[in-house]
């Protein structure tokens, strides 16, 4: 079965106004979504990315150039990713639609991995 990677983009916004009760509710939504994919055997893995811009590495005139990522100024960043098994794009998109990330001002980039055929 093909694997899809869901890249969760978000605006580095301020969550500080959420009350504990709202925090709980949002967790509930995320865990419900995660549990469902896990129960269906489609969850492969996930990771949160650190909230700084990381490093951008490029080559300039034969020399590696490393700059800090533009987290602070960025309008949006990648918050993290999920890897799932899905039959096709339709299914992967359908799964993404259920992700609470969309409710909280985020958007999701769905990409199919392109493995080298075995053998």
């Amino acid at each position: 079965m093909p694997q899809y990677i869901l890249l969760l983009h978000e605006t580095p916004s301020d969550f500080s106004n959420f009350s504990p009760e709202e925090v709980q509710q949002i967790f509930g939504e995320y865990f419900a979504w995660r549990s469902k994919i896990q129960a269906e055997g489609k969850y492969v893995g996930s990771n949160k990315l650190k909230e700084e811009g990381g490093r951008h590495v490029s080559m300039r005139n034969g020399k590696a150039r490393v700059v800090d990522g533009p987290y602070a100024e960025a309008k949006e960043v990648m918050g993290g990713y999920f890897i799932i098994d899905a039959a096709n794009y339709d299914e992967a998109v359908e799964i993404s639609k259920g992700c609470p990330h969309l409710k909280y001002d985020g958007w999701i980039e769905v990409r199919e991995t392109d493995p080298v055929p075995a053998g």
Binding site: F15, S19, Q24
Partner: protein
């Protein structure tokens, strides 16, 4: 490490985060001092937000409380370092973190919370400030939730809390349990806050149902917490806890399927919360030790009569009447007088009740008190004096802005008009 088993608790346990927030604030305030309460609150908020960003990807940690407390503690230490009031050795501040089921840790958390309650309910803080501060720092309620529960606006709740914190600073109120000689008087104000907190959730019929029920349950939690404390747990604390539990046990039956208000006589008693009644009985038994019969004892007794009766008719009305008479002797109040008459009408008849109502009708406090007219309406209706009853219900209708009550009274008027 991610643990699948701990994930589901966030879906099944009510108000876990609200409770955690209260625990965290109490514990960290003990460690860093009451003068840093604002910073502690911010640090706890930060820890929750951090969890909110991280846990959806990684799953919840095995010991979420320990995780949250560690993150919040680190925030505090970072800040203190920035203020450069502390040297690097602050790293060694050890915070004991037990497992979720660790009894010693649980006790410690309880003690932290009790200290916090006594501090928030210090008599030098105005009463509304005591309640708001307790809900915010011990209960983990947000300002907007408190505002919703009290039908207040957010900014005014914020002001109340700011004023309460000013008092804490001005009078250098310490975060500590009162000494044994001061405990009894300090306990009074704590119990009053718990009592008012419950009543606010229980009696107000407007506002958001959910958050008001939460207020009742938080009051019960604090009541039981106090009752369980070896020193604070005086008989009257058990009485208060019993009272709240008996009242709350009936919450589920207060409305019919359409959401319309039901009188005690109309409620389906099979809907009452048996488990809660059992807890109430346990507290009632424990309240019986000692000689003191507090007001809470009397109110708990009344509540138990209502809650333990098989039916409305079989309620021990003479006992209820006795308790109200005793309460009235202690603190003459038109509201208690009105409740006494309801019981009296059951014991000595509707006409006797109506006669006594006439006698208290002159009281100015009752002139604009809709329950007075609603009660009089009920008694007149039972006496078959329908026209006068309708008159009273109209009065009651005009005096209240509560929609559920207006609908209830309107229905009575319609029913009686049909009988005419």
């Amino acid at each position: 490490m991610a643990s699948e088993s701990s994930d589901h608790i966030y879906q099944s346990v009510d108000h876990l985060f609200r409770r955690r927030a209260g625990q965290l604030i109490a514990t960290l305030t003990r460690i860093f001092g009451i003068e840093r309460l604002d910073q502690v609150e911010d640090a706890v908020q930060d820890a929750m937000v951090r969890a909110l960003r991280l846990w959806p990807y990684q799953g919840a940690p095995d010991n979420p409380t320990a995780w949250l407390i560690q993150v919040a503690k680190n925030r505090m230490l970072d800040q203190l370092r920035r203020e450069s009031r502390l040297t690097e050795t602050t790293d060694e501040i050890e915070i004991p973190i037990g497992g979720e089921a660790d009894a010693a840790f649980a006790n410690e958390v309880h003690d932290d919370q009790l200290r916090m309650i006594f501090t928030c309910c210090h008599p030098l803080i105005p009463e509304d400030g005591q309640i708001a501060l307790t809900l915010k720092t011990v209960g983990g309620f947000s300002v907007s939730e408190i505002a919703r529960a009290f039908l207040a606006r957010g900014p005014s709740v914020t002001k109340t809390i700011v004023r309460a914190k000013q008092r804490l600073r001005e009078f250098e109120i310490k975060l500590e349990m009162p000494t044994p000689d001061k405990l009894p008087s300090r306990l009074e104000s704590v119990l009053k806050v718990v009592y008012l907190m419950f009543n606010e959730g229980y009696s107000a019929l407007e506002g958001e149902e959910l958050v008001r029920t939460d207020l009742c349950h938080e009051a019960i939690r604090l009541g039981e917490l106090l009752a369980g404390h070896p020193v604070a747990g005086a008989p009257k604390v058990h009485a208060l806890a019993a009272l709240l539990l008996f009242q709350a046990a009936r919450l589920t039956a207060r409305c019919d399927a359409a959401g319309e208000l039901l009188l005690l006589s109309e409620q389906d008693r099979s809907l009452w919360d048996r488990a809660m009644i059992k807890r109430g009985l346990y507290q009632l038994r424990r309240s019986a030790s000692g000689d003191e019969v507090s007001d809470y004892h009397l109110e708990a007794e009344i509540a138990s009569c209502h809650t333990l009766a098989e039916s409305f008719e079989s309620t021990d009305w003479p006992r209820v009447l006795d308790c109200y008479e005793e309460l009235l002797n202690r603190k003459p109040s038109p509201v208690v007088a009105l409740n006494r008459i309801v019981a009296l009408a059951k014991v000595r008849g509707v006409e006797a009740g109506l006669v006594e109502l006439e006698q208290i009708a002159e009281d100015r406090t009752l002139r604009n008190y809709y329950p007075f007219y609603a009660t009089r309406g009920e008694l007149l209706r039972e006496a078959g004096r329908n026209n006068e009853a309708i008159e009273c219900y109209r009065y009651a209708h005009n005096l209240t802005s509560s929609e559920p009550i207006r609908r209830f009274v309107m229905k009575r008027i319609t029913d009686l008009s049909r009988e005419r």
